[in-house]
């Protein structure tokens, strides 16, 4: 009996001695929430894997919730070295086959968090194209990108919504190399979208709301 359920490391609470959880304010999340607040029965996709906090936050707001753990899929196919292993055509193809497999125009909102920053061209563009395809016209994508070019590696996190403005970043794996993004590169990445809005943060993240 064959299963499509991936193996690998899934979101776990921080082990003793590992990086602690981080609580941070998020203007991007606040904006994303305000877009949801004015409507009813929207369909939201969370790419951080299912968590009680996020399910409760979205469903209590009267919306439907879907989940996919894109970082778990990366761990399954790229293992300990995302940057190196995604250069393999077969591994990249296997990752894409399992990623964002929902039908087109399925979601009004997508919480992509910081997953995209661990992908490199051409896999990055292919994943973004798929992400835009499954977002309905007028729908929104919340994404985070590394904004400090001196930072070469970033820990993997799971994102838990504490409230409409507050996130808890829970460490989930060994640090991985990240791409460095500036505003222009992000705009180019989402050039087929209707709009891209940036939010400045005090730490090294660039928060982005993309409207399809």
């Amino acid at each position: 009996m064959k299963f499509a359920v991936p193996k690998g490391t899934f979101a776990k609470s921080a082990a003793p001695g590992s990086a602690p959880s981080v609580t941070r304010q998020s203007s991007g999340l606040d904006q994303f929430h305000s877009l949801l607040k004015g409507a009813e029965d929207l369909h939201v996709l969370d790419l951080s894997g299912a968590s009680q906090a996020n399910i409760t936050f979205i469903t209590n707001a009267g919306h439907s919730f879907s989940s996919d753990d894109i970082v778990a899929t990366m761990l399954q196919h790229f293992e300990d070295d995302f940057a190196e292993n995604q250069q393999s055509d077969s591994k990249a193809a296997a990752f894409l086959e399992q990623t964002l497999t929902f039908p087109a125009n399925s979601f009004d909102g997508v919480l992509a968090w910081d997953a995209l920053q661990f992908l490199a061209p051409p896999l990055l563009e292919q994943t973004v194209e798929r992400l835009l395809r499954l977002t309905r016209p007028g729908g929104s994508i919340l994404a985070f990108f590394n904004a400090n070019e001196k930072v070469k590696e970033i820990p993997l996190y799971t994102y838990r919504i504490q409230d409409s403005k507050t996130l808890i970043q829970v460490p989930r794996g060994t640090p991985q190399k990240v791409q460095n993004f500036n505003n222009r590169s992000i705009e180019k990445l989402f050039e087929s979208a209707a709009s891209v809005k940036f939010f400045l943060t005090r730490d090294n993240l660039r928060e982005v709301i993309v409207r399809r």
Binding site: V5, K12, S13, G49, A50, S64, F65
Partner: protein, 153 residues
């Protein structure tokens, strides 16, 4: 003086009010449909469908299930590929892996659990109204069938 005789009669058997429970062990493989009228624990391999209306279904840590599941309450510790429908509650433990859609009134999910799919939280009142609306179509359909099948004289 003789001691009084004592007789002991066994108490009459009464049906269990709490209901029993059944289990499929980790070395059991089932392909097909499972219907249970009591609580059921599955720790083996199942392919098909599992229905435990008004009862609890537990998918054990060794279970590998490729099936649609329906029960009053569903506890998931193993691997499932299929849709899950619990009228009351779904409890997904940290070691669980679920690929499929969920329909329930309440959901509890532990950190570490893997889930890919959608969640439909429908309150019990909404479910009851939906179920009441469905049978209304059946008598009309039955009447149409009767009219079509009635021989002319």
């Amino acid at each position: 003086m003789s001691s009084p005789s004592r007789t002991f009669e066994p108490e009459p058997l009464t049906p269990s009010r709490s209901g029993g429970s059944a289990a499929l062990g980790k070395n059991v493989t089932v392909k097909g449909q499972i219907f249970a009228r009591e609580d059921l624990t599955i720790d083996g391999e199942v392919e098909g469908t599992v229905e435990c209306h008004e009862h609890r279904l537990t998918i054990g840590p060794n279970a590998r299930v490729q099936a649609g599941l329906k029960a009053r309450e569903i506890i998931i510790q193993g691997s499932i590929q299929g849709n899950v429908d619990a009228t009351d509650k779904i409890d997904i433990k940290k070691e669980a892996k679920l690929v499929g859609d969920i329909k329930t009134s309440r959901i509890v999910i532990e950190d570490g659990a893997y889930f890919k799919g959608s969640i439909d939280i429908s309150k019990p009142q909404a479910r009851a109204q939906a179920q009441q609306a469905t049978p209304a179509a059946a008598p009309a359909a039955a009447a149409a069938t009767t009219q079509a099948g009635t021989p002319s004289r």
